[in-house]
């Protein structure tokens, strides 16, 4: 199999790998257990913990670059985790180029968002708890990407789910926040079931859950074998839950109830991309199953379309960004579903998206900060001049996401569209077309957002006094905006990221046969994007935006406003049947299982009651039963002897 599966031991600098986890873990522990004493300095400590992990990540990254390409996967054994007889699970870390990307993204963007949150959450009485949860999230996310086996990944997976739950519901006094947290948790649970069954299946067939064992041994099961496909589909289910992909996408919009830094860090830049990581990490499995890959691309394409359409209809700035996130992760799924050709492109888009989406979320947070936490874009307008830094940084993110030439998205998203067409065949055309149109729609809704927020007349609420955010918030925004501009170019310069990731996910498609010439396709894409942006300008830039959403709109808009009936679909397809199922289960459990149990108990009790009547209290009947018993004993002995 691949040489990447032979991991080097963690020595030298890499012996410190575990500290990546330890820094934020200690931070989280101190903050969550420290009590009120930690209120004052706790948030700063959390930032320092995340920052320390980032610095360490950079050091390790430098050390990794110093090694040969095939020697960059470093495994660190920590301890024997579950040493049951015949079942050995070692807790260990795996630092390879793939996880390195995530480490830097999580700690880098994470640190910036920590700092941003210092300003954003400055007046929240529960800041300490908030930062504790943030650190907890960082630990879990790092464990997710650093574990050297699927079980560790699962622990991290659940950990980020927990942190996400806690942070979405951070303002738990709001019923909507509590409900949203619950919804996110439950929808994720659906995906987690898939992941856990996949892990069990791996263990059942391969006897191990370590990456080395599973990814190295999966080939023995044969390409397109039922087991491999089953594992792949279950992994996909898990990935869909975590990454808000169709059909488990509905929770992400509601998750915007959480504080904006959380939306930026967890629900845009890092956690929701864990599904992409899972699929990329399991590349050897997906490589073996064409059905599985096809389904991944379909999920990606459907989600990117859904997300883009929904994004056009919402007036809530965070929900627009959230649906955009769904859509962009759809692109990533599409990419990693294309197989070895595009894993690296998917990861590339993941990283660039991490920058520009975080930029925009932080920008949105900054706007909300200045607008009394209003999220309705119809109450914005003309903020360009009052919040210049926010505007300019946001604009960088905007240009990046629509794929303006030179900006990050141009390098990553266009590549995905290209790769989709290159898949060939009908499916390639379909996927490519969807991706292409998606790019246009993206341009439409993002332009709409920009115009409604920063341009046009001021539709502010009377009590709104917008102002620029403090430096502690704008600083991280500027850094991230810089990333939005250059990350695409920097990562692809000289095939950088693709070569870096090659040991893990395999060789990317080289310049080979293209369905459509890249140059032509780029031009087409730019045209489509320009068209989308122009359409948005025509609708929102040239005429006044009403302060309330118009009701007389086309059915498509109504559908989009309603999340493309995603919740309705969920409700009718999942929730209602789920409730019926639950009720049925409760019924079965109540009448059936409990019935059996209670019935058994009642039966025993009943027979007990009946047998009790044999206990008449009369010596004569006792003696008679003794006599009968003696006869029985005799009969058994004598008959037993005959037989």
């Amino acid at each position: 199999m691949k040489p990447a599966l032979a991991y080097a031991a963690a020595d030298g600098t890499f012996a410190a790998t575990w500290l990546l986890l330890a820094f934020p873990a200690v931070g989280a522990a101190i903050l969550l257990l420290g009590g009120r004493r930690a209120n004052r300095w706790g948030p700063v400590l959390a930032c320092l913990a995340a920052g320390a992990a980032f610095v360490l990540g950079l050091v390790l990254f430098a050390a990794m670059l110093g090694r040969a390409g095939d020697d960059r996967a470093i495994s660190q054994h920590l301890f024997s985790w579950i040493p049951v007889n015949g079942f050995q699970v070692d807790a260990g870390l795996l630092l390879d180029p793939l996880s390195m990307c995530f480490v830097l993204l999580v700690t880098g963007v994470g640190t910036l968002i920590h700092i941003y949150a210092l300003g954003y959450m400055a007046h929240d009485p529960n800041r300490r708890r908030f930062f504790g949860y943030l650190n907890l999230f960082v630990v879990a996310m790092l464990l997710l990407v650093l574990g050297n086996n699927f079980l560790a990944l699962y622990v991290g997976w659940e950990g980020v789910g927990l942190a996400s739950y806690l942070l979405i519901g951070f303002w738990s006094a709001r019923p909507s926040a509590a409900t949203a947290a619950k919804k996110a948790f439950i929808v994720n649970r659906v995906g987690d079931v898939g992941l856990s069954i996949a892990i069990m299946l791996m263990f059942a067939t391969l006897g191990t859950t370590s990456y080395a064992g599973v990814l190295g041994g999966i080939g023995a099961l044969g390409a397109n074998s039922g087991t491999v496909t089953a594992i792949a589909l279950l992994l996909l289910l898990g990935a869909c839950g975590k990454s808000a992909q169709f059909p488990l996408q509905s929770w992400l919009l509601d998750a915007m109830e959480g504080p904006t830094p959380v939306s930026a860090l967890i629900h845009a830049a890092t956690m929701v991309t864990a599904g992409v990581y899972l699929i990329a990490r399991s590349a050897p499995i997906f490589n073996l199953t064409s059905d599985g890959r096809l389904l991944v691309t379909i999920v990606g394409a459907v989600t990117l379309a859904i997300g883009a359409i929904i994004g056009c209809a919402y007036d809530d700035i965070k929900k627009v960004l959230a649906s955009s996130t769904m859509s962009q992760i759809g692109y990533m799924f599409l990419a990693v579903g294309l197989g070895p050709a595009a894993y690296a492109i998917g990861i590339l888009h993941l990283l660039t998206h991490g920058f520009f989406k975080a930029t925009m979320f932080l920008g949105a947070g900054s706007v909300m900060h200045g607008m009394n936490d209003t999220v309705d874009m119809r109450r914005y307008g003309g903020l360009r001049t009052v919040m210049p830094i926010t505007f300019w940084t946001f604009a960088m993110g905007y240009l990046a996401i629509i794929g303006f030439p030179g900006w990050a998205g141009f390098f990553s998203k266009d590549k995905i569209i290209e790769a989709a067409f290159d898949k060939g065949g009908t499916s390639g055309w379909v996927l490519g077309t969807v991706a292409l149109i998606g790019a246009g729609v993206t341009a439409f809704y993002m332009t709409r957002l920009m115009i409604m927020t920063f341009f046009g007349e001021r539709r502010w609420d009377p009590d709104a006094h917008p102002h620029e955010s403090p430096a502690v918030m704008t600083g991280p925004m500027i850094v991230l905006a810089l990333g939005s501009v250059i990350s695409g170019f920097a990562l692809t310069f000289g095939g950088g990221l693709q070569q870096f990731l090659e040991p893990v996910v395999g060789r990317s498609a080289e310049e080979g046969i293209h369905t459509i010439s890249p140059t032509v396709l780029t031009l087409i894409t730019l045209l489509v994007v320009a068209g989308g942006a122009a359409a948005a300008y025509r609708q929102y830039g040239t005429q006044a935006v009403p302060r309330t959403a118009p009701q007389a709109v086309s059915p498509v808009t109504v559908a989009a406003r309603r999340n493309l009936y995603g919740d309705a679909v969920n409700e009718s397809l999942l929730m209602r049947p789920g409730q019926y199922l639950t009720r049925a289960l409760v019924f079965v459990d109540g009448r059936g299982v409990d019935g059996v149990v209670n019935g058994l108990a009642a039966g025993i009790g009943g027979s007990s009651g009946r047998l009790r009547h044999a206990q008449t209290g009369f010596v004569r009947s006792y003696a008679l039963s003794m006599f009968g018993g003696a006869a029985l004993v005799l009969a058994v002995l004598l008959l037993g002897r005959l037989g």
């Binding site: 044999a614 018993g629 004993v633 058994v636 002995l637």
Partner: protein, 516 residues
């Protein structure tokens, strides 16, 4: 036959001292009754009885130290081997705890749990006066000592006739003791009569069995019966008749189904300290005898009686566990629980190997103390009419007296076989032995019965801790150091054997070899 043909028997008295000490104490107790003024009898009795039991215990230890080789003494009539000494030691310890309970008199406002004069007609004016009097029928001490002596002899007998004598020695005093409760005289007397009638009935079966076996083997010596069963061509029908009838007598004493009918009535009616003695001591002794008879004499035909024991064990576990569920009286519930436990121990008997034997021995000791402790606590929960044994009266006991209810809960958990109690280790011992001998089906039934049984044990715990106390509920009597001592002993054994069962397992394993 002329007189000159009778050989002079010889008896090595040394190993008999455990029994002699107890019987001597019993005889002295009778003399105490005869010559010590009534007022001072109880303390004197206590001293004599405890001295006898302690002496017996010392004797057991000395015998165990000095007699490394199991022997048959007194014309092969008494076996001095590992099981004998283990069971005698167990019985003596249980006896000490039981005597402590018998001696308690600060529970009832008037003194003692025993009647002042047993012969007074229940319900008469004389009886009412006596209930209020502070005297007690102090004969309980020598009676209990005689019963204990019989119990010591019962499992040690290598001779069916001696075994029968021992059976009667242990039974007759218990028949009397059962009728000596201070409160609820009619119930107590009814218990005594029932126990007596049915006990006599079972003794008759036992005796018939002996006759049949004598007819078969020409001897009542267990070794001789063993030899005879090993020889082909003997009259097998007599043997099986003998085995069947003898088992009836033994199974009656251990309270196995279908000979368990007497147990709840007698346990409920008897004075609770006596019930404690019966539930622990009698069961231990009868199991000892059963093990000896079946392992020593009937070993060669084990495949013939094993199915019978299977059936009895299953029936016993089932009846005990199922019937316990609907009981509303603590003492009756504990009685059915003791039936179920007889079934559990029978699985160890059926295992028919050394680990089965050692597991049974371990189980007997562990269970003996748990049940004794449980009954000891029953004596403390009282209202104006004596012990409050109805389960509804135990509601919310955990709130009134958390320590006591907690200890009772521990005993219940031990009965249920929850880990870290002696009940778990002992059940584990017998079940694993049964599995190793291939009796998996039996163990499955045993586990199901345990699960059913756990239900009503836990129900009582829930009742005690999670329900509001009844407004007119019973009070917890404050006993003297005697009852505390007994409870502490039982508690300690139950916990220690649950946490560090190793040493006793080793001891039981070393003891688990019968002399033939």
């Amino acid at each position: 036959m002329t007189p000159t043909d009778i050989p002079a028997p010889s008896i090595a008295y040394g190993p008999l001292w455990p029994m002699i000490a107890v019987f001597l104490a019993a005889a002295i107790g009778v003399l105490v009754e005869a010559f010590v003024p009534a007022r001072r009898r109880r303390p004197v009795h206590l001293v004599v009885a405890l001295a006898g039991l302690t002496g017996g215990l010392v004797a057991v230890a000395l015998v165990a130290r000095n007699h490394h080789h199991p022997t048959l003494i007194a014309e092969r009539a008494v076996a001095v081997d590992g099981p004998t000494l283990f069971i005698q030691g167990t019985l003596l310890l249980l006896g000490i705890a039981a005597v402590l309970l018998l001696g308690e008199r600060s529970l009832d406002s008037t003194g003692g749990t025993f009647v002042a004069a047993a012969a007074v007609v229940p319900g008469s004016r004389g009886e009412r006066q006596l209930t209020a009097s502070s005297t007690m029928q102090t004969e309980v001490f020598p009676l209990a000592m005689f019963a204990l002596g019989g119990m010591l002899l019962f499992p040690a007998s290598n001779n069916l006739l001696l075994m029968f004598v021992a059976l009667e020695i242990l039974s007759l005093p218990l028949y009397l003791l059962a009728g000596l409760a201070r409160r609820r005289r009619l119930l107590s007397q009814e218990a005594a009569v029932k126990y007596f009638l049915l006990g006599a009935f079972s003794s008759a079966f036992f005796l018939y069995g002996i006759a049949m076996l004598y007819g078969y083997a020409g001897s009542v010596d267990l070794g001789a019966i063993f030899t005879a069963t090993g020889t082909v061509g003997s009259n097998d029908t007599l043997l099986y008749l003998g085995i069947a009838l003898l088992s009836v007598g033994l199974l009656f004493k251990i309270g196995a189904a279908p000979f368990q009918n007497w147990t709840p009535d007698v346990y409920q009616g008897s004075p609770t300290p006596v019930t404690a003695l019966m539930a622990s001591g009698t069961k231990v002794a009868a199991f000892g005898a059963l093990l000896r008879v079946f392992y020593v004499a009937f070993g060669p035909v084990r495949w013939d009686w094993r199915p019978l024991m299977w059936g009895v064990a299953i029936l016993t576990m089932g009846v005990g566990a199922v019937l316990a569920i609907t009981q509303t009286d603590v003492k009756r519930m504990l009685a059915y629980s003791s039936i179920a436990h007889a079934g559990f121990i029978l699985t160890g008997v059926v295992a028919l190997n050394r680990s089965g034997l050692s597991g049974s021995l371990f189980y007997l000791l562990a269970y003996g103390f748990s049940t004794l402790g449980a009954f000891a606590i029953v004596t403390l929960v009282r209202d104006a009419d004596g012990e409050a044994t109805h389960l509804s009266q135990w509601r919310g006991l955990g709130r009134r007296s958390p320590a006591l209810a907690g200890i009772f809960a521990l005993f219940l958990l031990a009965f249920a076989g929850i880990p870290l109690t002696s009940g778990f280790t002992s059940k584990f011992a017998v079940f694993s032995a049964a599995i190793s001998s291939g009796a998996t089906g039996l163990v499955v039934v045993g586990l199901i019965a345990s699960a059913v049984a756990a239900f009503f044990y836990v129900r009582v715990i829930v009742l005690m801790f999670f329900e509001a106390p009844a407004p007119d509920g019973p009070t917890i009597a404050v006993p003297s150091v005697l009852t505390y001592g007994a409870i502490a002993l039982a508690f300690a054994v139950t916990v220690v054997l649950g946490v560090i069962p190793g040493p006793l397992f080793t001891l039981a394993d070393k003891a688990a070899l019968f002399v033939r």
